[in-house]
């Protein structure tokens, strides 16, 4: 399913600059309690080119709502596909891809 993430990946010199906006409520335990809902937030994000990991982070409830993040990596080429996957506390996993420009 598309539109869970907005991804930009641009090659500058030999470094790929990546910007991501992930759509997620990132409901903390405190916020969830007040709203009478279950807490749910992204717990892990991984980015890969092919089977090579270029970004790997374990995350907490304190990333902002609809989290924005940026990172850089070497070794990417124009036209290659960057796959970004996040997993949340409920166990849902979403992967979206973008070609490196």
């Amino acid at each position: 399913m598309a539109h869970n993430m907005k991804i930009k990946a641009k090659l500058k010199g030999d470094v790929v600059n990546v910007k991501v906006l992930a759509k997620h409520d990132m409901l903390t335990y405190d916020q969830a309690k007040k709203k009478g809902k279950e807490a749910n937030f992204i717990t892990h994000i991984t980015a890969k080119v092919g089977d090579k990991i270029v970004y790997d982070v374990s995350t907490s409830q304190f990333w902002s709502k609809n989290p924005q993040f940026k990172f850089k990596f070497k070794g990417g080429k124009k036209g290659e596909k960057l796959d970004i996957t996040w997993r949340d506390l409920s166990g849902k996993t979403v992967t979206e891809s973008k070609k490196i420009k």
Binding site: D51, S64, Q68
Partner: protein
């Protein structure tokens, strides 16, 4: 008589085998270090994640606004030229301290940006501090900090 169901242990054993032999594997620090995410102080979270360490106060740059107007999304940048394998982000304003633990890929660039939620600082008194600890490939630990004030909290919802 009811029929009983048994779980095949074989499936679990299969899941433990990594899919490929890529340079590094993904590390889920929430699974490997569960206590680090429940710790309520930065010191306790650092200890749960890395053990009893004495990081050197150099090599890691942390950037955030000195006064964050919106605690719901405080921009934080982290940069380091050191060869690091792990980068962990903590703060002393929210109910728990851990924010993120990066597993730095082989020859990865440590130049990260993220937006985080922070409670208003006047609720705790004094400044808030974002602490970043880097674990070098040489086994040494490095630290960078940034103190800031948060005008309007982002954790209350």
């Amino acid at each position: 008589m009811n029929r009983r169901k048994f779980l095949g242990l074989g499936i679990l054993a299969m899941a433990a085998i990594p899919a490929t032999l890529s340079a590094i594997a993904s590390i889920d620090f929430r699974a490997t270090k569960p206590d680090a995410w429940k710790a309520k102080t930065v010191d306790a979270a650092v200890k749960a994640l890395f053990g009893d360490i004495k990081p050197e106060d150099k090599g890691i740059k942390v950037k955030a606004p000195k006064v964050a107007s919106n605690g719901g999304a405080v921009p934080v940048s982290i940069k380091s030229d050191l060869p690091l394998k792990t980068v962990a982000v903590f703060q002393n304003m929210d109910p728990e301290s851990a924010v993120a633990v990066f597993n730095v890929p082989e020859d990865g660039i440590v130049d990260y940006f993220l937006k985080i939620k922070l409670k208003a600082t006047d609720a705790n008194g004094g400044n808030g501090v974002v602490t970043v600890i880097g674990e070098g490939k040489d086994g040494k630990f490095y630290k960078g900090t940034m103190s800031l004030q948060v005008a309007k909290g982002g954790c209350e919802g």
